[in-house]
Assembly symmetry: C2
Homo-oligomer: 159 residues x 2
DNA sequence: TATTGTTATACTCTATAACTATA
DNA sequence: TATAGTTATAGAGTATAACAATA
């Protein structure tokens, strides 16, 4: 509670971003729970919606989650009749992912709720600030991609 | 890998903040591992350093972690001889936390490493942008505190 | 031999209930 | 009775190894 005391920590990104993310995740997951979704499952629906027919391994790459973990996540979405897993005719090892009609409908409804959540969470910020925030977050995220690259500069840990 | 495809998601804070945090946490924990620390344990050292004598329950409040989880974290720091747990003479249920000499030294060294990490992670950003980023993250975090409050406006989920 | 999806598993983080010793 | 610290435990989230089917 005593918020004036721990000043040192608050100078750093890591600490503040963690706490901000906790707040966002709490509200976002509460928002999505009304649709039986979480951040990850909603993200999966979003990517599938915009890339109908993609494979599980591609989706795992895009969402940066491990294939084994994606499997159980897709099981959940399939059980809820939100997605289809269709065998790829040209490569029978793979599945082509797509949204069901129900899935599309649920995703659209949830999308509106997520937009409302976004407005709620960024309430004190101007439109320019919101754009700037997301732009900066992406620049930070991009630092993590400098792993397999030529390295050399002052690049990020590859552990 | 195909980064041009999942555009819809990237409009939203929640998705971008999660990924940025992952990148930061990976580099930060790799940085702190050289000192036998993680983000949480380093944060604990920081708060104890600046608030010598505080109690475990106060520290748990400040760090927003549950008391039971703090106990094992402090066990770890005590075993490494980085902190002292001294019985409060006026309330023998409580412990007063402080850094050992070793703890202070380790914390200072780690602090320098964390500052280097911070520069690395915010490399493409100007000084004004870094300040603005942290300021916005704190505004978002503050939304989460509007739980026990009077509510009424468009406040955040209290689940 | 390599890849897609899968199973089983383990490790971390986080959250809750119940205990002890003090107050 | 209430509080500080503790114990045990359960649930998420995440990561790796190994397998079957297919390429």
């Amino acid at each position: 509670m005593s918020d004036e005391r721990d000043i040192g920590l608050r100078k750093f990104c890591g600490y503040n971003i963690k706490r901000a993310f906790n707040v966002i995740q709490l509200d976002l997951n509460a928002t999505l729970a009304e649709y039986g979704l979480r951040l990850v499952t909603w993200s999966a629906l979003s990517v599938i919606d915009e890339n109908s027919g993609l494979r599980q391994s591609q989706l795992a790459d895009i969402l940066s989650i491990e294939r084994p973990n994606l499997v159980v996540l897709l099981d959940e979405l399939e059980r809820a009749d939100l997605i289809n897993r269709d065998r790829d005719t040209s490569d029978r090892r793979a599945y082509c992912l797509s949204l069901t009609d129900v899935g599309r409908e649920v995703y659209r409804s949830a999308l509106a709720a997520v937009e409302a959540h976004e407005d709620r969470i960024t309430e004190g910020l101007s439109l320019e600030e919101r754009q700037s925030l997301i732009s900066m977050l992406r620049k930070i995220e991009a630092k993590g991609k400098a792993r397999g690259d030529a390295d050399g500069n002052g690049s990020i840990s590859k552990a």
